[in-house]
Amino acid sequence: MKTIEQLETTTDLTRKGTCIEFFSAYQDLDIDRMVGLFTPDATIDFKPLGESGKGKVNELGRGLWSALIDAFPDLDNTIDTFDVNGDAITCQVVIFGTQVKEFAGIPSKGLKFESDHVFVFEFNEDDKATSLSVDWNHESFTRQLGVV
């Protein structure tokens, strides 16, 4: 925790600040900025997708977010709160958007979704994000998009 004097003079991000910057970049649909907050070999785990949801932030993460943004061009988020546990920060976030193209085999019916997500960022000693896991209720997500 920095003192007020430090906060006023420093430009580096705290760990929570890094999380906020990630979701701010997400709102701007700026994948380079999102990925740039992680170490080059950082890993990602989209939990509901099982083994196929595991990979590198710069590869799998970039690819999935690109597809998501392409299918939901008004994709947006709200950070509800943070929880710090050791080197991990858990963010409760609401993700929402409107589908305009097919996504992961789900044809577009022009429907909106709003889904509670849990993002867990892990940091190294240099306060760089080294991994991210993302969890959500996939059944609810697909149901909102019209999958019966």
């Binding site: 007020i4 929570k16 600040g17 950070i79 509800d80 709160t81 710090v84």
Partner: protein, 273 residues
């Protein structure tokens, strides 16, 4: 056990909900655990009794709290483990007040109790010393009143729609349609949410949820945890149905409502009604 809430000086009442003084000369060699649901308020505590421990986890993993600390929004029930002599004076801030007076990014303080000196620097040290030396509770209150009035006079920021929205959520006890509130205030959702993180620590909707649980728990405490009509209470609190209510209550308190009624160890249990 002595516990009293005190109203602050008039100019501070938009920022400070109350002060409290909590004292007990000796706990007869036993330790007591006190739990508190999230209140929606933040605080600053000056401890002149024995130090105590706190836990925000389900498994009562207690850690020593700094002697004098600043605390941000609690997003879950927390517990205090007290031994020996209790002696403290606390400032209960309204949701945006710490950011207004001290410029702290409130998301950094969620569920944290941080040492006052390390957060506020040297300006707080003489205040801490004077509180310890004060001979009466009124002297302690006067010291805090003067300190906060000085901060208020020197504060650069002006209240804006974020302060208004946060205080509106408080006054409505969290029973409010936040999307509708944003429309009526003609504010940009993203901007309000960003400022809420900075000034309150959580999103507006999440803050309303915290505030509603806080209000519900205070109602139950006032009824000495005797709830005659659950359906009426759930309806009054604006929950869709019983299932929604139970899910929400458990998320913030880690207890089912019925378990909570029978087994809570809130401070009110130790005070005369």
């Amino acid at each position: 056990m002595f516990y009293r809430k005190i109203i602050p000086a008039t100019p501070l009442q938009t920022l400070v909900e109350c002060y409290y003084i909590w004292e007990c000369n000796e706990l007869m060699g036993e330790s007591i655990t006190i739990e508190s649901p999230p209140s929606g308020f933040t605080s600053m505590v000056f401890n002149y009794g024995d130090c105590y421990k706190t836990s925000s986890t389900d498994n009562s993993d207690f850690k020593s709290a700094p002697r004098n600390f600043i605390a941000g929004q609690a997003t879950k029930t927390y517990k205090l483990l007290l031994e020996g002599k209790i002696g403290m004076i606390g400032i209960v801030f309204r949701p945006t007040a710490i950011n207004t007076l001290f410029g702290i990014q409130m998301y950094e303080l969620n569920d944290e109790r941080l040492d006052l000196s390390s957060v506020l620097g040297k300006e707080i040290e003489p205040i801490q010393e004077r509180i310890i030396e004060a001979r009466t509770n009124q002297e302690k209150i006067d010291i805090i009143d003067q300190f906060l009035l000085f901060k208020l006079l020197n504060c650069k920021g002006q209240p804006n729609h974020t302060d208004f929205a946060a205080n509106l959520i408080v006054s409505q006890n969290g029973i409010i349609n936040v999307s509708k509130m944003m429309e009526e205030l003609c504010v940009c959702r993203r901007q309000l949410e960003r400022q809420f993180l900075q000034k309150v620590g959580v999103s507006p909707k999440y803050y309303a949820r915290i505030r509603r649980i806080s209000y519900l728990c205070s109602i139950m405490a006032n009824k000495r945890w005797q709830v005659a009509d659950w359906h009426d209470l759930i309806f009054q609190m604006g929950y869709y149905d019983q299932s929604h209510f139970i899910k929400e209550f458990t998320a913030f308190t880690s207890k089912s409502p019925s378990f909570y009624l029978k087994n809570n160890v809130e401070l009110s249990n130790y005070l005369q009604s």
